[in-house]
Symmetry: C2
Subunit: 339 residues, 2 copies
DNA sequence: TTTGGCACTCGCCCTGTTCGAGTGCCAGCG
DNA sequence: CGCTGGCACTCGAACAGGGCGAGTGCCAAA
């Protein structure tokens, strides 16, 4: 087990390294932090910490830098979540309050998060399957062409064109629309396909209706699949803060960020509740092995409807980042609940 | 005036430099291109070209590289637009045909363009003001809360929440909806606010309606303003191909790309018809002074409803890039016309 | 267990040197 | 008059060597 002071030394190393981006030596440590011991003692502690794998030296006769394992310990036991300052909180409110629709909320959130953390921000749209249906609309664009519009309680609006096998009268359309709405409004999205599937059984009439309803069902399903998970990213310019080795690092990160699949998986791996911090190699994707991901679920009520987070270098200000991420998530939740 | 051979030398320099990323000297030129003259002659030509400002040397005793002016001449007079290969064309079709809605079309276009050109792709959503209204829908989400949904002929669907000053009956709603549609469908989007503004005059009834209609009008207007110009970008990972000096270059470019305003202005400066190539300092934004922007309008019919293009280093393969941009724009136009 | 001292290591940075691609100029040739 | 080959020159890239100093590990003493 590590003594209290050793942990203190680790904390000091992490803080200094995050601040300076340079390997930190024993002397500098004792000067900048009031550890109450001499450099020699710190050196001994460092030797132990290195043996345990919490820190490493890039090359002999250089200072130490934290390893992923070191950051892990730091996050788990040595650092809290730094609450935001009141100006920062106020900035969040001001910035987010002007949003006019969901796209706007998500867009503003991304920009806000990127600005607060000075890192790359990722915000997932509220999941369809976890939302409930607020409204279903069927519009007739042309005789044999419909448009389906779905509105969720989280403000998402999804639409899809439907080519009907045969023309469809306005009255039957109204009928179907009414039945759909009475069936489906207020239900969880995930249940919708099944509900719609059953709909034809309640009719004894023409096959017209049956065909259309099946079209609807398949459409709903594909819609849920394809649009289930959308996300927005921003602040990629912050990648340039990565450090001196950034030309090599930045490439795979940009590539990973472009692959929505990768990002979704990344967020998907995060815990359902509470904040998740994945450090360096803890991330499955190897292009992100020198980045850390801080993510948290957000939602209008008790349960999360989606996640948001930031991606940055492992050498990041964890307490501050976690504080910003949590604060933003909370407030976005409030905004969603209001709308 | 420049002789034919001098132009040929410039063309060779541009081609070689684009290929190798390295300053090109007289010897290498004569070896790689059948100019039919000796290096010494080429040197003389180069001296002239440099005097005229078409090429420059990064430092004494290095080869020459084209200046912005040199690229301009190259694009204007020395290079055509390289048509795509048939496999490439087929790829475009295959890739774009699977799109299910406008978001999907735009998203696929961005990815396609980025992949074809290996550069950063920018695609503007079809402009609202240049589209016509296909459908207007008014949904009642709560007694005093409506949702307005607008659908354009280009497939854009825009929605906006409306908080009514007072509850609004279902029948008055249906009435208003019908009137709205009969007034507005088929009209150009830009005219809609005015049309809606006039709507209250055709009523002699309660002030209920009047208030709601004005709410509608202002909303329509703000909607047009705020959502008029949206765009999607992709392929930012290609920024890493920028060259050896890319750490310095990439920063301002990423920042510019994040600022939608900047990009929109960039595309806005492009000609209305035909392809526009802006080279280096020709771009107003100074962060983009070492990039070139190739853009072109696209649309379902004769006139353009929006623009798309790519952003890359001035040292780019202009004929190939222009070919890809043009081909993609054409096919996206077709897709939009079909939907 | 902590501390001061001390020898040692090794990357960084500065300097000097070499190497060669590329240039400009010039005299000669068609 | 334009093209060509030759030649001296320039100047950056690449490499090597040396001093510097931060930082280390170890040890003996408190």
């Amino acid at each position: 087990m590590l003594s209290e002071r050793r942990l203190e030394v680790l904390r000091a190393i992490v803080q200094d390294y995050v601040g300076t981006e340079e390997p930190v030596g024993s002397k500098a440590l004792t000067e900048r932090h009031k550890l109450g011991v001499s450099p020699a003692t710190v050196r001994n502690d460092m030797a132990v910490l290195e043996e345990e794998g919490f820190i490493a030296q890039p090359h002999t006769s250089a200072g130490r830098i934290p390893t992923d394992k070191g950051y892990r310990l730091f996050v788990d036991r040595l650092a809290g979540v730094k609450p935001l300052s009141t100006p920062e909180r106020r900035a969040i409110h001001n910035f987010l309050d002007g949003a006019v629709d969901l796209d706007d909320v998500v867009g503003r959130t991304v920009r806000l998060l990127a600005q607060l953390t000075r890192q790359v921000a990722v915000v997932q749209y509220p999941s369809l399957t976890r939302s409930t249906v607020r409204h279903v609309e069927l519009l007739s664009l042309a005789p044999a062409r419909l448009m389906l519009v779905l509105i969720t309680d989280t403000g998402r609006v999804e639409q899809r064109l439907i080519d009907c096998p045969a023309p469809f009268g306005e009255t039957s359309l109204a009928d179907l629309r009414a039945r759909l709405n009475s069936r489906v409004v207020g239900r969880r999205f995930a249940d919708v396909p099944q509900l719609v599937q059953d709909l034809p059984e309640s009719f004894e009439e023409t096959e017209d209706r049956a065909t259309v309803t099946t079209v609807l069902a398949t459409l709903l399903e594909s819609l849920v699949e394809e649009h289930e998970e959308r996300l927005m990213i921003g602040g990629t310019a912050n990648l340039t803060r990565f450090g001196h080795d950034f030309p090599l690092m930045i490439r795979p990160v940009l590539e990973a960020l472009e692959e929505q699949v990768v990002l979704l998986k990344l967020l998907g791996e995060a815990k359902e509740s509470g904040m998740t911090v994945r450090i360096g190699h803890e991330n499955a994707h190897e292009g992100l092995s020198s980045t850390s991901v801080v993510s948290v679920g957000y939602g209008s009520g008790g349960e999360a409807v989606a996640k948001l987070g930031v991606v940055g270098p492992t050498r990041m200000d964890y307490p501050g980042t976690m504080g910003a991420v949590r604060a933003v998530a909370r407030y976005v939740g409030q905004i969603l609940a209001e709308s």
